[in-house]
């Protein structure tokens, strides 16, 4: 009786735990606990010497008064607004081209996807070389087009300001837009992420049943109409997924700024400092860990809110088949 009860307990309650134990141990130690711990640290002045005292919400209030924080916040928003919509439409464009039952589809797919698996560290060095203000290729191509040279990664003036200055318009700093340096990083990031989005869109496009297009054709729809009334609505779950994923990853951009604007120079007037880079500076260069975790929480809340808002707004507009 006792033995069978013991056997029952071991088989039913303990045995599954053995399978879960390795994973749970690491998740608790390196995911769950750090998250709770992180919130506690953000309420202290944890620094190089370790914990000193609780400062409650001082880190947060300091953060919200700091111009550097707002600048990096704005830079991050610029970056996301640059990479996400632009990257999405370029990817959709190429996915539509690839979906035309063309020859050598596999070859194009292989080429387009290549940047996605390559290390951002190495490829950032390559783009830094291309954007070199003196001998880089980007300026060489501008020269061929008859456009004056540009400082690229060292240029802090906003792109709207530069575009409008021939008209004699002087914009206030807040409206000057992302700096040319940030725009160069946006360009490079779109290049790096394009293949991934193309592949996802292509998979989505191939899921749309062919007979919808045939029906549209019989009803007299042209290319544009069949795109707008068949493809676009039926693709919306994929579009939503791409939008969400690229937004979340863009908010966490770090490597490009670290490598191209780096700890050893660059970063013209702080116009390429994004939130995670600011976090890195505060936490691991200045060792203000309490402050850095407060920053991490703000980032977390932003991402969470955005995810929820996007879900709310877009859920109503998505058509599942």
């Amino acid at each position: 009786m006792v033995i069978s009860l013991l056997y029952y307990i071991i088989m039913k309650k303990v045995y599954p735990l053995l399978y879960l134990l390795p994973a749970l141990l690491i998740i608790v130690l390196f995911r769950l606990f750090p998250m709770v711990f992180s919130f506690c640290i953000s309420l202290t002045d944890y620094g190089l010497g370790g914990f000193r005292k609780f400062v409650v919400l001082q880190n947060y209030s300091k953060l919200l008064c700091e111009p550097k924080f707002w600048q990096s916040f704005l830079n991050t928003i610029y970056y996301v607004l640059g990479v996400v919509p632009l990257g999405l439409f370029i990817a959709l464009f190429f996915a539509l081209l690839l979906n035309q039952r063309i020859k050598a589809l596999g070859l194009y797919r292989t080429i387009y996807f290549l940047p996605v698996i390559t290390s951002l560290v190495a490829i950032s060095i390559v783009w830094k070389w291309i954007f070199n203000p003196r001998i880089g290729l980007a300026n060489y191509f501008l020269g061929l087009l008859g456009i004056p040279k540009c400082l690229w990664l060292e240029e802090w003036s906003g792109i709207f300001q530069i575009l409008l200055s021939p008209l004699g318009i002087k914009l206030p700093p807040l409206l000057a837009g992302p700096s040319i340096a940030l725009c160069a990083i946006i360009l490079m990031s779109i290049w790096h992420g394009l293949g991934y989005n193309v592949i996802i869109f292509l998979a989505g496009l191939q899921n749309i049943p062919k007979h919808y297009y045939e029906a549209a054709k019989i009803d007299g729809a042209g290319t544009w109409h069949s795109f707008w009334y068949v493809t676009w609505p039926l693709l919306s779950p994929t579009t939503f997924f791409v939008l969400l994923m690229t937004t979340i990853t863009s908010f966490q951009m770090f490597i490009q700024v670290y490598m191209m604007e780096g700890p050893t120079g660059g970063n013209p007037l702080g116009t390429t400092r994004v939130l995670v880079y600011y976090l890195y500076e505060k936490g691991f260069a200045e060792w203000q860990m309490g402050y850095a975790t407060a920053l991490a929480f703000v980032l977390f809340v932003i991402i969470l809110c955005l995810t929820l808002v996007q879900r709310q707004i877009l859920a109503r507009r998505i058509h599942y088949q």
Partner: protein, 273 residues
């Protein structure tokens, strides 16, 4: 007639896109084979006049690239083994074992996936320093030996394996572990390959974490070593390009052999890092 023109136009656009995609790689390799003076020429030379392979040797002799490579290899392989082990076991528990709170636990794990990585940086660093794991292989490997997404992926597949197979295995004298090892895993080749490829690519390219938890040259993986090399080297572009080529090459070789599996893995699961 119009159709052929349309086709040509589509191919033209696609080729243009492909050129833009490939071009930085071409420029990287081309520059890596030039002499320093040749790399500074304006207008630029598209191809080097003579191939200067010594750039690669010189980059290797200036910093401990072989050591960085070895570190990355160790990290990649150990993380892969860890991820496969923990994912298979826990995915099996979630798919085939019954225990109280199973679904609740599974959903809580999934919601942990939503949390962005930067949140973990500071607290994990502090935990690692309390464990004296800073600047060790443990610190570089152990936190990444569990991947919740892999657990999810494998669990979804394990669930499709019919219960009848389990009953048959029991009659043949198999326990749960024997069933997992002899039946479930051999039947799950495709998702296991997907999980492995994701793990390899992620460990090979990971940067922010090793940047923070290493501080000696001997522990640096290739990406962090390359970043420090770039900071020190400054503007000797042929050397930098040679080093970058080296850091990219192994994954390109993997991609060359397994590109179909890699692309399909990404497009089926829609996962990025």
């Amino acid at each position: 007639m119009r159709k052929i023109q349309d086709r040509l136009f589509i191919h033209l656009l696609l080729i243009l896109g492909a050129i833009i995609t490939i071009f930085p790689f071409f420029w990287m390799v081309s520059t890596s084979l030039k002499t320093h003076t040749e790399s500074l020429l304006i207008p630029p030379k598209w191809f080097p006049t003579s191939f200067v392979f010594s750039n690669y040797l010189e980059a290797f002799s200036q910093v401990a690239f072989p050591r960085y490579f070895l570190n990355t290899m160790i990290i990649t392989v150990a993380t892969l083994i860890g991820v496969l082990g923990t994912s298979c076991l826990s995915a099996y528990a979630f798919a085939h074992l019954k225990f109280p709170g199973r679904n609740l636990l599974f959903v809580s794990l999934l919601s942990l996936m939503m949390i962005p990585q930067p949140i973990y940086l500071v607290p994990s660093y502090i935990i690692l320093s309390k464990l004296h794991w800073i600047d060790t292989y443990y610190g570089l490997i152990v936190p990444w030996t569990v991947n919740i997404f892999s657990i999810f992926l494998l669990r979804q597949h394990f669930k499709t394996i019919p219960k009848d197979l389990y009953d048959a295995a029991i009659i043949d004298g198999c326990g749960h572990f024997g069933f997992l090892w002899r039946v479930v895993i051999p039947l799950s080749r495709a998702p296991l390959i997907t999980v492995s490829l994701f793990s390899i690519i992620a460990s090979w390219n990971s940067f922010l974490w090793p940047l923070i938890v290493t501080n000696s040259d001997a522990m640096r993986p290739i990406q962090v070593g390359l970043a420090y090399f770039a900071q020190e080297q400054g503007s000797f572009w042929p050397l930098l390009m040679a080093a970058s080529t080296f850091a990219i090459l192994p994954l390109i070789i993997v991609y060359f052999f397994a590109q179909r599996q890699i692309i399909e893995s990404f497009s089926r699961t829609g996962l990025k890092d």
